[in-house]
């Protein structure tokens, strides 16, 4: 099972996220590049996140595993916060490592795009006075066909993943 894969770390948590901790998680002796994407609460006092936790963990684990395979990464770590996330705090962090920056940037980009498109997680904007509204979301996008992993260049355009030319 992917959970036991030493290259992969996934967590959906109500604890504060740490860029430093996730960077250490993906650090490897043979990896010359670490790329970190951090999604941060902006413009509102706080965001309240809710997840279908079991399914979100499974989906994010699949995405991380897939990105490691497709981009030849050394490791991938993805954490998503639930509960109250105040202005300036991280709601999601993606950290990946690879031998070189090209695959690390590409892998991190694909991972965050697919987490947003596929993981069953929702957010509600909450103002200082406590009033809130659920953010308009997007319908789930189908993940790439696992059979296409071995040959990513033949992924049909309908999968919505941009391939490097």
């Amino acid at each position: 099972m992917a959970e036991a894969d030493p290259q992969i770390h996934v967590r959906v948590t109500d604890e504060e996220l740490s860029v430093d901790a996730l960077s250490r998680t993906v650090s490897r002796a043979d990896a010359g590049a670490i790329v970190i994407f951090c999604g941060v609460t902006r413009e509102v006092d706080r965001l309240d996140y809710e997840a279908y936790r079991e399914m979100a963990c499974e989906k994010i684990t699949l995405i991380a595993t897939d990105c490691v395979k497709r981009h030849g990464l050394a490791a991938a770590a993805i954490e998503h916060r639930v509960g109250h996330v105040r202005l300036g705090e991280a709601s999601v962090i993606v950290a990946v490592s690879g031998a070189h920056r090209e695959e690390a940037f590409a892998g991190a980009r694909e991972a965050i795009d697919r987490v947003k498109a596929d993981a069953p997680i929702w957010k509600r904007e909450v103002d200082l006075d406590g009033t809130g509204r659920w953010v308009d979301g997007t319908e789930p996008q189908p993940a790439p066909d696992p059979a296409a992993n071995a040959a990513p260049s033949v992924l049909p355009a309908s999968h919505g993943i941009t391939q490097a030319q």
Partner: protein, 82 residues
């Protein structure tokens, strides 16, 4: 058969609880369950305007996916993670 469907976010709020039970004919599909929820109950009005998907055993299902009483079912409103 009687199925229990987990609810999240705006759907959980509208229903006033984190799951809803629906009585369906044996052999019913995802489309049958969604139709039943649109016809009656606390989610009927919101489901008229909100596109929802159903997850069956933690996978996004199609309208044709058949349901069984022991399946883990959830309604998935549009996603806004990240």
């Amino acid at each position: 058969m009687n199925v229990r469907i987990r609810l999240f976010a705006i759907l959980r709020e509208r229903a006033g609880g984190d799951s809803i039970e629906v009585e369906l004919a044996d052999g019913a599909t995802v489309a049958d369950a969604l139709r039943a929820l649109q016809e009656t109950g606390p989610l009927a009005s919101i489901l008229e305007r909100l596109p929802v998907h159903m997850a069956v055993n933690r996978e996004y299902a199609t309208p044709h996916t058949p349901l069984a009483a022991e399946d883990e079912l959830a309604l998935i409103p549009p996603l806004s993670g990240g």
